[in-house]
Symmetry: C2
DNA sequence: CGAAACCTTGACAATGTTCAATCACTGTGG
DNA sequence: CCACAGTGATTGAACATTGTCAAGGTTTCG
């Protein structure tokens, strides 16, 4: 664990804060590095920190009583977590693991909480971000309850593509491994794999390791977006 | 549409506000009644109001391009909606329909927004509630992606029961109709119906219209809660 | 009463999971 | 350098779950 200098000002959540707030935040927060694979938060631990991801990937997960993993979220640059404890009991609800080398800012919850109570802008920033997260969660619920596994995979690829410029064909990369992605999309790895091979056979999508060649975006759009309430390009994550 | 007197003070979201804020809220908000079946919000309308449900039931829903309904949420007493527009584009994302006679408070978004910027307590109340809603949404995602249809039905019944005192057997009621509930749980009405009949045959659950007799809660708990990260009684909605 | 909406059931098709086998890729230690 | 173990990915076959379609029963409400 190494501490490094960093710039809170460039983080949207902390934009437009009073000078004092920055000073106070800078004083109490620290940037740390975790190696790939390291689990740095465990369920039922006392919740002490808010986390902002600078670089790398984090997996948030729980376990069922039978020991199966439940993926809560997978986060990267500019994402944050640990905020629900601002107003709740002080136990962690999930485990957090670095799935790629991780660069992350930790802010003590007590400090953040008192700062939110003092600085109106910070409270409003948090409210805005939380509302945006809520919107994302609702879209995810919508997809899980109305699309089948194949459509969810195609939809995920389209959303990866939607951040790019508008083209007929694009090259993309899966951001993390397929087993995790399958779980995130609510299906077994085998089902995910079969969805990809169906996309290859019928829809001009070629996947080699983590690289995806989409040769005909329109074909995918016709396939998926027709049964959705959103319109391509969907910009949520 | 009839306007009626009402008490904002008793609403958790508006607790601990400054006197001025109350006065301002009371002046701009109004309580209205809608008859069962009435659709009072439509997608793409200009979003003008925040809604707080006093009594009755509301269904929030979208439509796919093919015309199928997607249920966003079903709300009743003390629930609210319309808050995401505090910080977003000003179009409604969904339709709202009274599915039971409805008594609801409407607050102009512009007023609410300026009040939130002024009154710190209001902003904090909103942040707290939004974080709680987010937690609920995450649990819903967890259930949709890790439980099968039968488990989701059993889990729903257990959560209905969890608000009651701890007993071996309880009598419950479905809060709204089964077709809607099925859709809310991400399955077809036929699948829902079959889940109920399986619960009857093997787990001592008797359903007659909207009345549910659960004769052996422990059997259900063993069936469902083992594969979940939560511990009965789960208190979320 | 009669129409409409809701609910249930059966037969069948489509979709998804499980389990086992195999392959590819990676990193380790001899 | 190679052998080997470990992880992740893919595939097939059997099975379980869920959706679809059609028919018929029930409830509600004008």
């Amino acid at each position: 664990m190494t501490v490094m200098p960093f710039h809170l000002q460039s983080i949207a959540l902390f934009s437009k804060l009073a000078e004092e707030s920055f000073a106070s935040l800078l004083q109490c927060s620290k940037k740390v590095f975790y190696k790939k694979g390291h689990i740095f938060l465990k369920t039922h631990d006392i919740a002490q920190f808010f986390f902002y991801v600078c670089e790398g990937w984090v997996k948030l997960f729980k376990e069922t009583k039978e020991g199966d993993e439940i993926i809560i979220d997978v986060l990267t640059n500019t994402h944050y977590f640990g905020e629900s404890f601002l107003f709740e009991e002080n136990k962690e609800h999930y485990n957090a693991q670095a799935i790629e080398d991780l660069e992350i800012i930790m802010i003590p919850l007590a400090s953040l909480k008192s700062l939110i109570a003092k600085d109106r802008s910070l409270a409003l920033n948090f409210l805005q971000s939380t509302l945006a997260k809520q919107q994302t969660a609702h879209l995810e619920i919508e997809r899980l309850s109305s699309q089948n596994a194949f459509q969810r995979v195609a939809c995920f690829i389209l959303r990866l593509a939607a951040t790019n410029q508008e083209k007929k064909a694009v090259v993309l990369r899966f951001p993390y491994d397929k087993t995790l992605l399958a779980s995130r999309l609510g299906m077994r790895p085998e089902t995910f794999s079969r969805a990809l091979s169906k996309l290859h056979q019928h829809y001009g999508v070629e996947v080699k390791n983590d690289v995806i060649h989409v040769n005909n975006i329109d074909a995918l759009i016709r396939l998926v977006c027709q049964q959705c309430s959103q319109t391509y390009p969907c910009k949520d994550k």
